[in-house]
Amino acid sequence: MLVALLSAPWWLGPYGLTQLSFVLIYSIVGLGLMLLAGYTGLFSIGHAAFLGVGAYVEAKLSALGWPFPASAAAALLSAGAGVVVGLPALRIKGIYLGIATLAFGVIVEEVLARWESMTGGNAGMPVSTLQAFGWKADTGPAFYFVCLLCCVLSSLGVLNLLRSPIGRAFVAIRDSEISAQSMGIRLAQYKTLAFALSAALAGLGGALYAHQIRFLSPDQFSITQSIDLLLLVVIGGLGSAHGAFLGAVFLIAMPQAISAAKDLLPAAVAQAPGLQAFVYGAVLVAFVLFEPLGPYGRWVKVRTWLQLFPFYRRGMFTRQKSFQKSERVR
């Protein structure tokens, strides 16, 4: 796997390499959202805002001539934004949190569009090539390796974090806030931390995204982008780090697959602009209905079947239904 990724510039064309860089960038962002939604159980419908903050900060900094490692500042600033959003998360749960992050996402998009002296407004803003200490990543492969390095570092970081007490605390909060609290986990601190880390990863992804796409405009960071990111983690499989990568592959490969399939379809269907949205929706519905754990969950099931060969039972992975309502007291 690693060999294939390292040697990719030599066997992939420039177009494929660009797509692969996008997959890596989205994986970083997806890891961040997975940490928040999949492991801590807080879901954010405004994650594109963090991506946007990271992208614009990086664009500004590199225009000022700061070297790329300074894009840590972009990540840090996004993390700061994450803390700000995380604060209401201490008091509100579930759908209310979703609405709060949605509101935050819309407001950030509007700010990006209106703050013209800083962001160029709706006219957009060009981004210079990535450069650090006299070295420029102006070729496809060079930039690809930067993405690969960032992606490997952040996934190692996230995987290690999940094995640490902090990661266990996140999972505990996801499974039951009350039991987590009773075990001595400080909800406020850990939830804020989860938001900050997730936003920082999104900011890092945003910085790379800015250099990759070379031109920023506010509509790239709209609600649709946030929902695409949610789609990424859900299709990849909530609660597995692999899911972020599989989801990113899906998100990038799907438009290609659809345009490839267009040749086979009758013209009336193939030319319709809504085809992509329809297929996205259908795939999402299918995954939630039939395989909530995503492709990785399917792989786990197949592996278990192989390991336990004659003893596999169908019910092993059925999840217990839980209704909050029946135990609600009023």
């Binding site: 879901f43 759908i95 209310y96 075990m183 949205a277 209704f323």
Partner: protein
């Protein structure tokens, strides 16, 4: 004078938000899930009305009940096929499921050749008429929206307070298991909640169509109805309407008096302020789970003692957040 006219148009817009928010709340109370497809249901309703009036030449007043019934059927089909199998799974997956349904609906509409991608005016009998009253003029479209919403609310109120079905639905939303033991067909009532939500959304779509035209991006109104539902308190039907009105009026005034661009975010600013000041909304009830209540009791018995929170970080922001409660 002018502000009164702005108020009326704000109220009319708020009624639309309120009607969609009503759908959210109905579904939320019945099945504990949040449907992101509500705006799309409205869009589908408007497109169905458009198709009936233009392609089949039905008059508007005849098309209205047909559309409402058709959308109600669509609602129950959705509930049966997609929602019922995943009930009881984490709320997040159901939210994503409805987002998927919304994508599918929008994609399907834009795939209809020659109709889906354009904007269309919907011909209604009261189109363009203006009521003049003491030097002020009100568009008939706005007044019809307000009147229809008031009628619909009255109907729903009577249904929930007087009819057997309404009371059974209330029981189901208070305690599903207990209602089930009492012989109330809870699952069928959940389907009914979707029927009502879809029908109300269809009415909202038909009412909105003369004001904004029919197009595939109408569903973004749905995203503004969320703030409305939250402002009113997510579990309260009157709250949804009041929240919708509040959001609509604030938006109308922000669009007139404040710099450009603030109109679009006004709804979200309102909801953020609301979530910070009063997270349960205006009419939200305190619904505590048993374990939450236990914590509260514990808090009352030994104030300040709570495991895991014994020493709070002396963060100023954190204090601010706390003292707002």
């Amino acid at each position: 004078m002018l502000s009164l006219q702005i108020l009326v148009s704000g109220i009319a817009q708020g009624c639309i938000y309120g009607l969609i928010a009503l759908g959210f709340v109905l579904i939320y109370k019945a099945t504990e899930t949040v449907s992101f497809a509500q705006g799309e249901l409205m869009m589908l309703g408007a497109f169905a009305g458009l198709g009936l009036t233009t392609a089949f030449g039905l008059p508007f007043w005849l098309a209205l009940p047909v559309v409402v019934v058709a959308m109600a059927g669509f609602g129950i089909a959705t509930e049966r096929v997609a929602i019922r199998p995943v009930l009881g799974q984490p709320a997040f997956s159901i939210v994503m499921l409805t987002i998927g349904l919304a994508y599918m609906a929008r994609g399907a509409i834009t795939m209809v050749p020659a109709i889906g991608t354009d904007t269309h005016p919907l011909a209604v009998p009261y189109k363009g008429e203006v009521l003049r009253l003491g030097g002020m003029s009100f568009a008939a479209e706005h007044l019809v929206v307000i009147g229809a919403t008031a009628l619909l609310c009255l109907g729903l109120y009577l249904m929930f307070s007087r009819s057997r079905i309404g009371i059974a639905m209330q029981a189901g939303s208070q305690n599903q298991l207990a209602a089930y033991y009492m012989g109330i067909p809870v699952q069928r009532l959940n389907g009914l909640a979707w029927v009502l939500a879809a029908a109300v959304a269809a009415v909202a779509g038909l009412l909105l169509a003369p004001i904004t035209f029919v197009h595939a991006n109408m569903d973004f109104i749905g995203l503004k109805a969320f703030p409305a539902a939250v402002v009113g308190g997510f579990g309260s039907l009157p709250g949804a309407i009041v929240g919708g009105l509040l959001v609509g009026v604030v938006e109308a005034f922000a669009g007139f008096y404040l710099p450009e661009g603030l109109k679009d975010v006004a709804a979200y600013v309102v909801v953020l302020v609301m979530l910070i000041l009063k997270p349960n909304g205006l009419f939200g009830e305190k619904s505590l789970k048993k374990s939450d209540r236990a914590l509260h009791l514990q808090d009352r018995l030994r104030p300040g003692h709570r495991p895991g929170q014994a020493r709070r970080p002396p963060l100023l922001v954190w204090r601010l957040a706390r003292c707002a409660s």
